[in-house]
C-alpha cells in the first residue's frame, strides 16, 4: 500500500481508531493484522517470505540466549546466513549471474546461467536488516530474546516502517509494543504535523523535481551539460525529500499511536563535512552499518590508520551495494567512502568550530560532493553515469526548458520552500523547541502545508524511490 493512495487514507483512520479502541492486551494482534494487510497490498504471497525470516530469527534469538560458546555462535550465524540468503536470492542473484555471464563472454567460455524472473519483495532490505539487528543485539547481550512470537513478528512487520524504514533497534521498539498506549492529543497533532510535512516533501518537492530529472536522466544524449547540472541539483533534493518525506510519514503515523521511531534525517544538506552528512542522512542505516559492519571490521581501533580507513571504505562499498544490485550503487558507496577517507586523513571527521562564512563554504562544498555522487546513484548504468559526468564538465549548451516552462518554476519554488523550511528549523527552531511544539504553531504548519499540497502536489502515480530496496 502506498502512503499516497486512497487505500491508505481509508486504512489510517481505521487503524488509529481500532488501535485505541481495542483493549491493550489484544492490540498486538490488531497491529500485526494491520501490518499483514498493509504488506499484502503489494504482492500478497511475499508475506510468506517475511514469515520465514520471522520464524528463523525468533527461534534463533531464543537459542542464542539459552546457549553458550560455539552453539551460541552457530545459532547467530545460522540466522544471519539464512536471512542474508533470502536477501541474496531475491535481490542479488541476477546481478551475480549477469556478471558471471559477462565474465564468461569476456573469457570466451561458451557458458551462461539462466537468470531468475523474480520481483524483489518490497522493503526486503529494510526488514532483513531489522531482523539481523535483533539477533546481533541478543548475541551481544544488549537485548533479551523476545519470547512472545506475536510481539516479535510485530517488531519485524510494524507497518509504518515496514517497507522503507527507519531501521529500528529492538531496544527502542520492542518494549513500546508492550507498553499501554493512551491516546494523547499532543501525540496526535505532532504526529499529524509530521505526516503532513512528509506528504509535502514527497508530493510538492520530490515528485515535482522528478518530472525534470526523469526527462534528463532518461535521455542524456539529448541534453546539454547545463541541463545535466540542473538535473543533478534537482535530484539531490528529490531523493532527500522522497526518502525523508516517507520517513516523516512513518514517524508521524507511529507517533499518533504513541510509538516513537528513531529520527532518520536531520537536515543533512546543512552538513559542513561528509562525516557530518552521514550522521544526519539515513541515520538508522548509517548507524546500522557503523555498529554491525564498521566496528566488526575493527572500526577506528584497527592496527593502523590505513587499516582503519580501509574499514571505512569497505563499509561504504557494502552500503552502496545494499542500496541496489548495480555497479552504479557500488561506485556511489565507494565514492562516499573515498570522501570520508580523505576527510579523515586531513581534517578528522568531526567539525571543529568555525566562523559562519567558512561553515557556509564547507556546507556548499559538501553539497556539491554529495550531489556529484548522486549522479551514479540515479543513473541506470555506469556508462550513462560517466557520459553524464563528461557532459557535466563540458558544461555546454543551454538549459533544457520543458514545453510547459511552469515545470521549472515549480521546481525552483519547491526547492526554495524546502531550503527555507530546513534553514529556519536549523537556525531558529532547533534550539527553541518550546516554540516549535506549541499546538497553534503545529496547526499553522499543517494548514499551510496542506494547501501547498493541494495546489502544488503531483498526484499522477509516483512511487517512493526507496521502495526498490
Amino acid at each position: 500500500m502506498l502512503f499516497n493512495s486512497i487505500s491508505f487514507i481509508v486504512f489510517l483512520p481505521i487503524v488509529l481508531i481500532g488501535f485505541f479502541t481495542i483493549p491493550h492486551r489484544y492490540r498486538w494482534i490488531f497491529s500485526l493484522t494491520a501490518s499483514i494487510v498493509f504488506y499484502m497490498f503489494f504482492i500478497p504471497i511475499y508475506v510468506l517470505i517475511l514469515l520465514l525470516t520471522i520464524i528463523v530469527d525468533f527461534y534463533a534469538g531464543i537459542k542464542i540466549e539459552e546457549t553458550n560458546g560455539k552453539s551460541k555462535v552457530f545459532f547467530l550465524w545460522a540466522s544471519v546466513i539464512i536471512t542474508c540468503l533470502i536477501l541474496f536470492c531475491f535481490k542479488y542473484y541476477n546481478f551475480f549471474i549477469a556478471n558471471v555471464n559477462d565474465l564468461a563472454v569476456f573469457m570466451g567460455w561458451n557458458y551462461s546461467i539462466t537468470m531468475l524472473e523474480i520481483i524483489l519483495p518490497i522493503g526486503l532490505s529494510f526488514h532483513t536488516f531489522q531482523s539481523l539487528s535483533y539477533v546481533i543485539e541478543v548475541y551481544r547481550g544488549n537485548q533479551r530474546a523476545e519470547r512472545h512470537f506475536g510481539i516479535y513478528a510485530l517488531y519485524v512487520m510494524y507497518w509504518p516502517q515496514l517497507v522503507a524504514g527507519p531501521i529500528e533497534r529492538p531496544q527502542n521498539l520492542l518494549h513500546q509494543f508492550k507498553k499501554k498506549q493512551i491516546f494523547r492529543y499532543t501525540n496526535f497533532y505532532r504526529g499529524l504535523r509530521l505526516v503532513v510535512l512528509g506528504f509535502f516533501m514527497k508530493l510538492v518537492v520530490a515528485d515535482r523535481l522528478a518530472i525534470y530529472v526523469n526527462a534528463v536522466y532518461g535521455n542524456p544524449d539529448f541534453h546539454s551539460g547545463k541541463s545535466i547540472a540542473l538535473a543533478a541539483l534537482f535530484f539531490s533534493f528529490q531523493i532527500y525529500c522522497d526518502f525523508a518525506g516517507y520517513s516523516s510519514i512513518a514517524l508521524g503515523v507511529s507517533r499518533m499511536m504513541g510509538i516513537t521511531l528513531m529520527t532518520n534525517f536531520r537536515r543533512p544538506y546543512f552538513s559542513s563535512s561528509v562525516g557530518e552528512f552521514w550522521r544526519r542522512w539515513h541515520i538508522s542505516l548509517s548507524t546500522w552499518f557503523k555498529d554491525y559492519v564498521y566496528i566488526a571490521l575493527g572500526g577506528n581501533r584497527a592496527k593502523s590508520k590505513i587499516r582503519s580507513l580501509m574499514n571505512l571504505f569497505i563499509t561504504f562499498l557494502i552500503s552502496g551495494f545494499w542500496h541496489g544490485a548495480n555497479w552504479t550503487f557500488i561506485i556511489w558507496g565507494g565514492l562516499n567512502g573515498l570522501y570520508l577517507m580523505v576527510e579523515n586523513l586531513f581534517n578528522g571527521s568531526r567539525s571543529r568550530s568555525m566562523n559562519k562564512s567558512l561553515r557556509m563554504l564547507k556546507i556548499l562544498l559538501v553539497f556539491c560532493l554529495i550531489s556529484f555522487s548522486w549522479i551514479f546513484f540515479r543513473s541506470d548504468s555506469l556508462s550513462n553515469a560517466f557520459f553524464m559526468i563528461y557532459k557535466l564538465f563540458l558544461f555546454n549548451g543551454s538549459i533544457f526548458v520543458p514545453a510547459d516552462p511552469e515545470i521549472l518554476v515549480y521546481c525552483f519554488l519547491s526547492i526554495s520552500l524546502i531550503v527555507f523550511w530546513e534553514g529556519f528549523y536549523e537556525l531558529i527552531f532547533k534550539n527553541r523547541s518550546y516554540l516549535f511544539n506549541r499546538k497553534i504553531f503545529s496547526y499553522c504548519i499543517i494548514f499551510i502545508a496542506f494547501f501547498f499540497i493541494l495546489l502544488f502536489g503531483v498526484f499522477d502515480g509516483g512511487q517512493f524511490i526507496y521502495f526498490q530496496f
Binding site: F447, G457, F459
Partner: protein, 298 residues
C-alpha cells in the same frame, strides 16, 4: 480540544471554498496559454468549424484561412501531447453549449496505440471536474480524482503559475483563434524510421473514444473529417499503426485525409519546423489544401 479541531476543519473548508472561487475567476480571465485557449473553447467560443488534435493540430490549421475560403468562423482547439481521450472530452464540453458545422480531427499515426501518458495527461481537464462528463472520465482513469469531491481547490493543482502569468500579468496569445504557428526552422534532420515492429498494442479505450467521437458528430449532424498532418520522415517498413488507424477510420465511414507522407510537404524543407511540425509557411499551404478539400472534395 474537540472545539479546536472542529474549528480547524471548518476553517480549512472555508479557505478551500474561498480560494477555489478566487482561482475560478482568475482562470476564466486567462486569454492565452494552453489552459486559456482550452477554457475559451469550452466556455466562450461559438465557431462553425473546430479543429481538435495535438501540437500538430495547434500549429497546422490556420482559422483565418478557413474563414477566408469557407466563410466559416473557425477555432483551433489543438493542445500539445493530448490524445483522442482529451479531444473527445473537450468536444463534449463544447457541445454542451454549442453545435458546430464541421470538425477536423487531426490524429497521430500512433493515436490508437496504448500509452499510459495519454491517461495521465487528462489531468489538464481537472478545472472542469464539476462537469459530469469530465468527472466520469477522470474517475474511471484514476479513483484518486475523487479527492476533488472534497476539496475544490484541487481542480487548480499545478495551475497557479499559469493563472498568475496569464491572468494577473495579462500575457495573452497574439490571436484569439487558438492557432499558434511554429516560426522558422528548428532542425534539418529527417527521421528515417527503420524500426520494423510487427506487433501492435491497440488500446480498445482509444478505439472506443474514436467511435464515440464519430457517433456524436453523426447524431448532431456535424461533418467530421479526420486528417493526418505531414511529418518529416520516411519509413522503411510498413507503418502498421497508421494502417490500423486507416482501417478503423474507413470502417467507421469517416472522411480521411492522409498527408503523413505527402511529398509536396515533406520534400520541401521550407515548410517544415521540425520532424513532426510544419512551420507558419507550411501551415498556411496545408490549411489552404484542407479548406479547399472541404469545399470541393478530392
Amino acid at each position: 480540544m474537540l472545539i479546536f479541531s472542529i474549528s480547524f476543519i471548518l476553517t480549512v473548508y472555508m479557505v478551500d471554498a474561498a480560494l477555489s472561487a478566487l482561482l475560478e475567476q482568475a482562470y476564466s480571465r486567462m486569454k492565452g496559454g494552453e489552459r486559456g485557449r482550452a477554457d475559451f473553447a469550452i466556455r466562450k467560443s461559438k465557431a462553425d468549424l473546430y479543429i481538435f488534435g495535438s501540437s500538430r493540430a495547434l500549429g497546422h490549421y490556420d482559422p483565418k484561412i478557413f474563414y477566408s475560403v469557407l466563410k466559416k468562423k473557425s477555432y483551433n482547439a489543438g493542445r500539445p501531447a493530448q490524445s483522442i481521450l482529451y479531444h473527445l472530452s473537450l468536444f463534449k464540453l463544447i457541445l454542451a453549449r454549442h453545435t458546430p458545422d464541421i470538425v477536423i480531427l487531426d490524429l497521430n499515426e500512433t493515436e490508437l496505440i496504448y500509452d499510459y501518458k495519454k491517461y495521465e495527461l487528462m489531468s489538464s481537464l481537472l478545472p472542469y471536474y464539476s462537469e459530469p462528463t469530465v468527472k466520469e472520465t477522470l474517475t474511471k482513469i484514476d479513483s484518486r480524482y475523487k479527492f476533488n469531491n472534497y476539496f475544490s481547490v484541487l481542480k487548480y493543482n499545478s495551475s497557479i503559475g499559469a493563472i498568475i502569468y496569464r491572468s494577473v500579468f495579462s500575457k495573452n496569445d497574439e490571436s484569439m483563434d487558438g492557432f499558434i504557428p511554429y516560426k522558422g526552422f528548428r532542425n534539418s534532420s529527417e527521421i528515417v524510421n527503420d524500426n520494423c515492429n510487427d506487433s501492435l498494442n491497440i488500446d480498445p479505450k482509444l478505439v472506443q473514444s474514436l467511435m464515440e467521437f464519430q457517433k456524436l458528430c453523426k447524431e448532431k449532424g456535424i461533418r467530421l473529417v479526420i486528417a493526418i498532418s505531414p511529418r518529416f520522415a520516411t519509413y522503411k517498413c510498413k507503418q502498421i499503426d497508421l494502417l490500423y488507424l486507416q482501417e478503423e477510420v474507413q470502417r467507421l465511414g469517416i472522411e480521411f485525409l492522409d498527408y503523413s507522407s505527402n511529398r509536396r510537404f515533406i520534400e520541401n524543407k521550407a515548410f517544415m519546423y521540425d520532424v513532426a511540425h510544419l512551420n507558419e509557411t507550411g501551415a498556411k499551404e496545408y490549411s489552404h489544401e484542407i479548406a479547399s478539400y472541404l469545399i470541393h472534395g478530392k
